[in-house]
């Protein structure tokens, strides 16, 4: 968070400025006896994004990523704090911001599936006030860029998931926005399509667009983002370049175990060990994978083998820490 201190939240020359954003939702329950409760979605979120930067916002589910995006895109009013986008206040200068930004929320919804891609794009072009004489050319270019020209006039309900995602991106670009907000753009996509989508996102940055991206995939943030903010429980717990964030775990290494028959009980045992900083476990497939972050390096291997003595171990590797390891450490602490 040292970076924020040096910038002091200044709005000058920044594409996006979030200053101490806080959002508390009030929930009312009960028909007769109305009981109110509060959910704190954001406690204190501050960061700045430069023009032409691809900035990542990562964090677990419910951390506050989408709430932050909604405040920046004028969809939500913060309980306290302030945000400016392109120098405009997100609470008061709503239309000015909306005219100049694009939003891609992703997923299979968010498109009119009974009509064609062209109809979807033309509709949103009108909603964004794109002049008619510009619309035809831009729609054609976007469909070509996204590789959808062949199915331009087919109903969207006949599209594959990847095609819908590309149409989402095209829709987000229909007004030639200066800033694009991408909320988990590759979630649920096949690896091949996800790679294709990432390559498109890179292409947009090369064209000079500013992008704020939220993602669950750390390698995606590592590959794409210039800087990444990690949000946990409505707070920014770290903000740095991917290589800067990896320094948090430089003194540690990751023991990756591949095996079979590993149970939650054994994972719990690892969690209780004092030399383990964090552990992620994928126990769902036939080939189970444990990633154990520890300062002990290879010294811990014998302990790992002891805990997993009733399981089949296929392989144990010592790996260099990744952004995911840094994320796990920061989110766990």
């Amino acid at each position: 968070m040292s970076e924020l201190g040096s910038q002091g939240g200044s709005a000058s020359g920044k594409a996006i400025v979030a200053e101490h954003l806080c959002k508390v939702f009030e929930i009312t329950r009960g028909m007769v006896r109305r009981r109110k409760s509060q959910v704190v979605a954001l406690k204190d979120v501050s960061f700045e994004v430069d023009y032409g930067e691809l900035f990542g916002l990562v964090g677990p589910n419910g951390a506050g990523k989408t709430t932050t995006i909604k405040i920046l895109t004028t969809m939500l009013i913060p309980t306290s704090g302030r945000a400016t986008v392109l120098g405009y206040d997100s609470q008061k200068e709503v239309t000015k911001i909306r005219e100049k930004i694009g939003i891609v929320l992703g997923g299979e919804r968010g498109l009119y599936t009974r009509v064609s891609a062209v109809d979807n794009l033309r509709y949103f072009a009108d909603l964004y006030g794109v002049p008619r004489n510009v619309q035809d050319k831009r729609i054609k270019e976007l469909l070509e860029f996204m590789g959808l020209s062949d199915k331009a006039h087919s109903r969207v309900e006949t599209y594959s998931k990847g095609m819908k995602q590309r149409l989402h991106l095209a829709r987000g670009l229909i007004n030639d926005p200066e800033i694009i907000f991408l909320d988990e753009p590759t979630v649920g996509l096949d690896p091949e399509i996800a790679i294709e989508t990432r390559s498109m996102i890179k292409g947009l940055v090369e064209k000079g667009k500013t992008i704020l991206l939220t993602t669950h995939y750390m390698f995606e943030a590592d590959v794409l983002c210039k800087r990444v903010a990690i949000i946990r429980n409505g707070d920014v717990v770290a903000l740095d370049t991917p290589s800067g964030l990896k320094k948090y775990v430089m003194e540690t290494s990751v023991v990756e175990v591949e095996g079979f028959g590993i149970s939650e009980k054994e994972v719990t045992k690892f969690r209780e060990m004092k030399d383990i900083i964090s552990i992620s476990a994928d126990l769902s497939e036939n080939k189970q994978v444990l990633k154990i972050q520890t300062p002990k390096g290879s010294e811990i291997i014998s302990e790992v083998q002891e805990v997993l003595k009733n399981s089949h171990i296929y392989d144990i590797k010592i790996k260099e820490p990744t952004l995911e390891d840094a994320y796990l450490k920061l989110v766990a602490t």
Binding site: K70, G110, V115, D119, L127
Partner: protein, 270 residues
């Protein structure tokens, strides 16, 4: 800033494309009013006076009225189902302009109700509407549709906040239809309902439509003794003033509910 008329047209066009893509509209728009009018005309058969006229126009109006009120409110719900409400609201155009386009499209589709009912009345029950002023009839009908659409906008604003607004439109559809005098003359209704009838634009629209179809009706209009043309002009003027008030109210409501939704985070609550 997007052009208002362009946004309204674009929303209208998209709604029409959706209507065309989903032939299920035939059931509420053609079959239901067809059945309703058949029942109503059978009941009124032999009762004399302009009751056939009430049944035919009333049945048609009921279809239009229900279709527009229900569909206008449903416009927001539709966006929620599609997952497009956030994208639409995030655009710089005003949500009320988008919903206006959808409401007008719904109202236009509501006309199919009227056509279905007219066909039943004319060919099955031999009731001749005897439209004496076809142009004025068309103008009155279209202006009434606009008025119903504007009322639909007020209902639509409630849907921005909550899906329970569906209960509101479902509950109000029939009372509003009865109070506006679509099927029965207002004089037959309790006195307390008259002030409510007078603030409903369609009440005046229906009066105007009847004036253009039946000379016999001139004795039952709100403006007895003023002459048919003067009564017609007064009906349409009052209706358009009320419609303008609806649009103004809807505009304020949309602003209020959008601010409230942005504060409470209920924009996409489905």
């Amino acid at each position: 800033m997007p052009n208002t008329l362009r946004v309204i047209y674009s929303a209208f066009r998209l709604a029409m494309l959706h209507w065309m893509a989903d032939p299920q509209w035939v059931i509420p728009n053609v079959i239901a009013p067809f059945v309703f009018t058949t029942v109503a005309l059978t009941l009124f058969k032999g009762s004399g006076g302009p009751f056939g006229l009430y049944a035919v126009l009333g049945g048609g109006m009921m279809g239009m009225w229900g279709n527009t009120i229900y569909s206008s409110g449903f416009a927001i719900e539709f966006e929620k189902w599609q997952g497009t409400l956030e994208e639409v609201i995030a655009a710089p155009s005003k949500l009320i302009h988008v919903i206006t386009g959808r409401s007008i499209s719904n109202a236009l589709f509501g006309l199919t109700n009227m056509v279905a009912v007219l066909i039943v009345g004319t060919f099955v029950f031999n009731i001749s509407l005897g439209i004496s002023e076809p142009i004025l009839f068309t103008i009155s009908l279209l202006l009434t549709l606009l008025s119903v659409s504007a009322l639909g906008l007020i209902f639509a604003s409630a849907f921005v906040l909550s899906r329970s607004a569906q209960t509101l439109t479902n509950g109000l559809e029939t009372p509003l239809y009865i109070i506006s005098g679509s099927m029965f003359p207002i004089a037959l209704l309790p006195f307390w309902s008259h002030p409510i009838a007078y603030i409903l634009g369609p009440t005046w629209g229906i009066d105007a439509i009847r004036l253009t179809t039946s000379q016999e009706y001139a004795s039952q209009t709100f403006w007895v003794g003023m002459g048919t043309n003067s009564a017609l002009i007064l009906d349409l003027t009052v209706m358009m003033l009320i419609t303008a008030a609806y649009v103004a109210i809807a505009n304020v409501l949309f602003k209020m509910v959008e601010t409230r939704a942005r504060t409470k985070g209920t924009l996409v609550e489905a």
